[in-house]
Symmetry: C2
Subunit: 229 residues, 2 copies
DNA sequence: GCATTAAAGTGTAATTTAAACACTAACTAA
DNA sequence: TTAGTTAGTGTTTAAATTACACTTTAATGC
């Protein structure tokens, strides 16, 4: 089976920069390539866009196929299309970035055959193609976005403590945050619901759990509310 | 001549949302289609990406071919790839937006045959394909970007008055701005050089001309400076 | 030439927001 | 019972933002 066109058509792929948050630091999901080119190198999960699916659908499908991850926050990032970025043929890659509640998913749900692993963003291996560039852009975007949209919650489990949330911001922004000012601000947005639940079996005072109130967020967003931290 | 691939490849185009600033309001450059589909409809300038050119190069080439515009500020916006957005075949469009110094260019420099025209963004005609959606995204991006990066200058001639600059911000943001506060802030960035030149033949006190100091901007940007207005 | 019109130019006070900062509470483990 | 660890909590100061009104300068119309 083959496909013929009057004009040359590039191939179009989607690639996904998937962020997860471990207790300590921000991590990135990579897969190890088992074919040439760049066989053996780590790379972003991704693949060709099928004729009947949207770009976002393609990204979600590839993530399920290659990593088993599903139901995650996903957003288009940027499109990389330099001639020569793939040695085989002209490939336009519509890059996406995704945030996943690492604690919820049993890591590596469906990684048949392919090697999948989380790497701390500070210690990434050498990547295939121009994927290092893509990761750089994604990190920059994540840092910028976390300041004016409450997307950080996508990295945490449903219930979380304010301490966990603060560590998230510190990991993403790569700078320390004042505890009292942080709590003031984050509670001031009224996007968090305090639960009647506390940590158990911790070797210190138990923290209260909170939950992100997505409904309220949607409401406030409609009214043009500003969530800048 | 034809091109054959083992897998189906979509066509890839670039489309450009070109903004210009007339005395009064923000305008958008459109071309009238002279072929089906959407023959006769107004549309964004754009076209197919050639095998050996980057996406940005493609956008610049199409702009020159279709509108004669050159040397303008150009940035990638978003990639639109819904199946069915073009009735002929699957087309992925990497949309860009551009800012042009309308006053400098003699409008319509090289519009051979095709009809090209500027429309106030508030009074756009019905557009071809999903171009209305693209314009919407571009406007949103422009509004957001103008607040934290000095890109507004790309819409003005080399020399401009603070009044012109203020009217630009008001046109883009679609809201009035306090004159004194605006001047305080914009001069506070130290990105403007006051010239020893004043308006001539105006029926009111002549305003001083200023120039955007791009070199200083690059310097400050490197040092992580913040240009938020 | 004088009054009218139109935009340029200029500073201060009030309010809001951001930043800095240190102790007590609660729980476990040794 | 003590040491270690994180949770939780307000106030003061500095900085940024907002609101606001009159004088200056030039051309135009009478």
């Amino acid at each position: 089976m083959s496909y013929t066109y009057k004009h040359p058509h590039p191939a179009v792929t989607v690639d996904c920069v998937v962020f997860g948050l471990d207790e300590a630091d921000l991590k990135l999901l990579l897969i190890q390539r088992d074919v040439e080119p760049f066989k053996g190198r780590w790379a972003l999960p991704g693949g060709f866009v099928q004729p009947e699916e949207s770009l976002e659908q393609a990204a979600r499908r590839e993530l399920i196929e290659e990593t088993g991850l599903t139901r995650l926050y996903l957003e288009q990032l940027y499109t990389f299309g330099e001639p020569g970025r793939d040695p085989r043929e002209r490939v336009i890659s519509v890059a996406h970035y995704a945030l996943v509640k690492l604690a919820d998913h049993n890591l590596r749900a469906a990684s048949d055959a392919v090697d999948v692993a989380w790497f701390p963003v500070a210690e990434l291996p050498k990547l295939a193609f121009d994927h290092e560039k893509i990761v750089e852009v994604a990190l920059k975007r994540l840092k910028a976005k976390v300041r004016y949209e409450p997307i950080g919650f996508e990295l945490l489990p449903e219930k979380f403590t304010l301490g966990e949330l603060q560590r998230l911001y510190e990991a993403v922004l790569e700078q320390p945050v004042d505890k009292r000012n942080f709590r003031k601000k984050i509670l001031g947005t009224e996007l968090l619901d305090a639960l009647d639940e506390y940590q158990q079996d911790v070797a210190h005072r138990a923290a209260q759990y909170y939950r992100f109130n997505r409904a309220r967020y949607e409401q406030l967003k409609k009214r043009g509310f500003n969530f800048e931290l």
